[in-house]
Symmetry: C2
Subunit: 158 residues, 2 copies
DNA sequence: AGCAAAGGGGACTAAAATGGTCCTATATGA
DNA sequence: TCATATAGGACCATTTTAGTCCCCTTTGCT
């Protein structure tokens, strides 16, 4: 289903929550309550986000989490990558493939391009967009449709 | 990692293989050999693809599978949806959400738009594209980047 | 100084999704 | 009528994911 994991989903919600009150350092407990999720789980997610440099943490009493940079400079792909690792549609989308099928499969290259396009799309969506209540507008239908038809031969036409 | 499942990955490879010789009905065994995967697995995938109307099957001797329509009219999202179900980034991306967090989460709407954009992107990639050996070109970076900035307020800027 | 409130890190368990196999039934052509 | 295919579904093993818990360190307050 090309779905985000639940944790990633939660992460987005949590980040959005923090982004809506960026001045205040918020604790794991507070956030857990606001978002209605168990404290340990929220804590785990916050740790991951902090480790990847999306949040800054303050320890000790009066501590909590703050955005490490403005919401407009944190992208959806940042958040996804923080929880799930690098974004790629297939196994061979990133690393130098240890995929034994590479010779046979014949689609690897093209999947990589598609992955790149998805990544770029997600780079363009910021936390600021996600956090705003008004729906964001992504009128990308036309440009993409036309653009993907760029290259040569078509098989099995007609 | 926003990854396709292995089965979906295989499905793409298999479909591409069929698309490269569209006239001939190919059996599960043949394809399994070509693609170097176990027969039962390939069989399972072919069944799924046929059930969703992407392939047509002929039973009995001399049987096998053929594309149900030209490769240029089968999209990447068709293939993905056939194996994994509807494409959506989050649980609530498609159905009328039974997500209890909907009130709290505040990002559902926006994720749905992002999902839609990804879906559109994948609609634009055809099996014909995937099957061709030459890499497809997806110069979508610019249009998307600029377009996602469409709407109003930005949080936490500066 | 000491205490309480926070996060850091990692081990562990339970549950769910995934991948893969197998069996029986049905259709088809020689 | 037999060999060759797919159709459909039950089944199991493995991996991934989600969630919990424990002990440690840091920090502010009294």
């Amino acid at each position: 289903m090309l779905k985000l994991s639940k944790l990633t989903d939660y992460a987005a919600v949590i980040m959005a929550h923090i982004a809506r009150d960026p001045a205040k350092a918020q604790t794991a407990s507070e956030l857990a309550q606001c978002v209605n999720l168990p404290h340990p789980t929220v804590g785990k997610i916050l740790k991951m986000l902090a480790k990847k440099g999306l949040l800054e943490s303050r320890r000790g009493s009066q501590g909590g989490y703050v955005l490490a940079r403005p919401a407009s400079r944190i992208s959806a792909s940042d958040i996804i990558a923080a929880i799930e690792g690098p974004i790629g549609m297939t196994e061979c989308s990133h690393a130098d493939g240890d995929c034994e099928l590479l010779d046979i499969c014949g689609v690897a290259d093209n999947w990589q391009r598609v992955s790149q396009a998805v990544r770029t799309l997600l780079d363009g969506v910021t936390l600021a967009h996600l956090a705003q209540t008004a729906p964001i507008k992504l009128p990308v239908q036309m440009p993409i449709q036309s653009v993907t038809l760029a290259s040569g031969a078509e098989y099995g036409k007609g």
